[in-house]
Amino acid sequence: MADTAPVPLLRVDGLDAWYGDSHVLHGLSFEVRDGEVVTLLGRNGAGKTTTLRAIIGILRQRQGSISLAGREIIRHSSNAIARLGIGYCPEERGIFASLSVRENLLLPPVIRSGGLSLEQIFALFPNLQERVHSQGTKLSGGEQQMLAIARILRTGARLLLLDEPTEGLAPVIIEQIGRTIHELKRQGFTIVLVEQNFRFAAQLADRHYIVEQGKVVDMFENATLERNIDKLHAYLGV
C-alpha cells in the first residue's frame, strides 16, 4: 500500500528550530503532494512563519528532515534550496526600496524553464504593469503583495511558500489574490499557504494543517472543514 504512494513534493519530518536559545519548533511534520495547495493555520506565534523560514533555509538553527521530491535539503544553504525550485514570499513582503518595480520583478534568477513570462505575470497583475518604473516601496500595500508573489512566478520554481499574503489588505485585493492563487493552482503550482484567515484558505486549499506551539496538531481535508468547524474555532481561538 504505502509503497505505491508517490513521494510527496515536500516532506517536513520532525522539524525542530531555534532563535538563539529560544526553541520554537518542536518536531513539526507535514507533507505536500505535487500540485496541492496546503495551508498552515494557527494562532499568532504558533510557528508558521518559522516553518517557512526553516524550509527555505533562512533560519539556519534547525534539525530534523526536510525533503524536496525525496531529496534531503536541510543541510543546504538558502540559495541552493531556492535553486532546487522553491519560491519564497515572506510575511513582510520584502520589496526592495532601492529597486524599481521592474527590477524587483526581475531580481530572482530564473532557475529552470517553465516559469511565467512577463506577459503572463502582467495578465495576472495588471496594476503592476502600469507601475513598472515606480520605486518598489512606493506601491500600495496590496500592490507590494502582488509584486512579492509575482516575482517568484518567473523563476520556474514549482513550489511556492506564501506567508500570509492577505494580511492587512482590503477585501477587494484579498479577492484578487485569491483568484491569482486559484489560477496558479490550475497551472500546476504546488503551494504552501500560511493563513490566519481560514475562510480565505477554505476557498483555495486541498488540506489544512493546524500548527500549535511549534507542532502540527491536526489536519483536515478541505471537504471536511464544515464538519469540523467547532474544532477549528477552538484551535484558532476565533
Binding site: 527555505i56 533555509g57 533562512i58 544553504s77 538558502s78 540559495n79 534550496i81 531556492a82 535553486r83 519564497y88 515572506p90 520584502g94 526592495f96 526600496a97 532601492s98 529597486l99 527590477e103 526581475l106 531580481l107 530572482p108 534568477p109 532557475i111 517568484i152 523563476t155
Partner: protein, 295 residues
C-alpha cells in the same frame, strides 16, 4: 592674463585644477569605500594601504619587470583586487556575523601590517615614477598651462566613477548589489550566492583603490605613507557624502577637492582643515550625510 575677484586667473585656475586632481582621488577612493560599506557594513580601514599598494605595484612592475604605465593600469587593479578577494574570503568573512567594529579593527590592523611591511622594505623617502611619455607635456590654454597627465587623471577618474555608478544603478549585477545591501538574507533565499557577491564587491572596491594608486604614482611620490595621509581626508569625504551613498561619494569627492583648492587660494591657513570643518558642520546639521540614506 586677467584677474577674478582680485585673484590672478593663472593662480585661480591652477588651484582649481589642483583641487580637481585631488577631487579625482577623493572620489575614486570614497566610491570604493562606500560600495564596500554598503554591502559588507565594514569600514575598510585598509583602503589607504590598498591604494598605496597600487602605487607601489606600479613602481615595482616598471622597476623589476620593465612593465610600463599602461599595462599597470590594467594589471595592478586586477592583482590588488585578487589580494582583496583573498582578504575577504580568508579573514573578513569570518567576522561577518559580529558587530562591524570588528571589521574596522581587522582592516585597521591589516593597514598597519601592510604599511609596515612596505616601510621596512622601501623606507619612507619616496620613489620616483615618471609620467608616461604619451602624456608628457601639456596644453597652453592661454589663461593657464594644463599638463596632459593631470587632464588624463581627471577624465579617467570621471569615467571610472560614471561607469561604476552605471554598473550599480543600471545593470542586473547592480540590482543584486543594491538588493543585497538592503536585505541580504532575502536575496540569498532567491537563489543568489550572496557570500560570493560580497567577496566580489570587496575585491571590486579594492581594485578601485588600486586604480587610484596607479594614477597617483606619477603625481605623488610613491611611499608607504601615501595612503595613510590620503585616507583620513577620504573618510571625511565619505562622512560628508553619506555612508554608503554611491552618487554622494562621487559628487562630494570632486566638490571637496575643489573647495580645498579654493581655500588654498583665499585663506591658505585653513586649506588643510576646511574639509574637516565642513564635516563637523554636516554632522551637526545632517548626521546621515548630504546624500545619506538611513543608518
Amino acid at each position: 592674463m586677467f584677474t577674478i575677484l582680485g585673484i590672478p586667473s593663472q593662480a585661480l585656475f591652477g588651484q582649481l585644477l589642483l583641487g580637481l586632481i585631488n577631487g579625482s582621488f577623493y572620489a575614486l577612493l570614497s566610491l570604493g569605500l562606500a560600495i564596500i560599506f554598503g554591502l559588507l557594513n565594514v569600514i575598510n580601514f585598509a583602503h589607504g594601504a590598498q591604494y598605496m599598494m597600487g602605487a607601489f605595484l606600479t613602481w615595482m612592475l616598471l622597476s623589476y619587470f620593465g612593465i610600463g604605465y599602461w599595462w599597470a593600469l590594467l594589471l595592478v587593479p586586477i592583482l590588488v583586487g585578487i589580494f582583496g578577494l583573498l582578504l575577504e574570503r580568508l579573514l573578513i568573512s569570518r567576522l561577518h556575523h559580529l558587530d562591524h567594529l570588528y571589521g574596522l579593527l581587522l582592516t585597521f590592523g591589516l593597514a598597519l601590517i601592510i604599511q609596515g611591511a612596505f616601510r621596512i622594505q622601501y623606507g619612507v623617502s619616496g620613489l620616483p615614477y615618471g609620467i608616461p611619455v604619451t602624456l608628457a607635456g601639456g596644453q597652453n590654454l592661454g589663461f593657464m598651462f594644463l599638463p596632459n597627465y593631470r587632464l588624463w587623471v581627471i577624465l579617467l577618474s570621471l569615467s571610472v566613477c560614471l561607469a561604476t555608478w552605471l554598473l550599480i544603478e543600471k545593470t542586473k549585477l547592480g540590482a543584486y548589489l543594491r538588493a543585497a545591501t538592503e536585505n541580504p538574507t532575502l536575496v540569498q533565499a532567491f537563489g543568489i550566492n550572496v557570500p560570493r557577491l560580497i567577496t566580489l564587491t570587496y575585491g571590486g572596491g579594492v581594485a578601485l583603490a588600486a586604480l587610484a594608486g596607479v594614477m597617483a604614482a606619477p603625481i605623488y611620490s610613491v611611499n608607504p605613507n601615501m595612503g595613510a595621509d590620503m585616507i583620513i581626508t577620504v573618510f571625511a569625504v565619505v562622512v560628508i557624502g553619506g555612508m554608503g551613498s554611491i552618487a554622494g561619494s562621487i559628487v562630494t569627492g570632486f566638490a571637496l577637492g575643489l573647495i580645498e583648492g579654493l581655500t588654498k587660494l583665499l585663506y591658505p591657513e585653513a586649506s588643510s582643515t576646511v574639509i574637516f570643518i565642513i564635516m563637523a558642520i554636516v554632522l551637526l546639521l545632517k548626521p546621515a550625510g548630504l546624500f545619506g540614506r538611513r543608518v
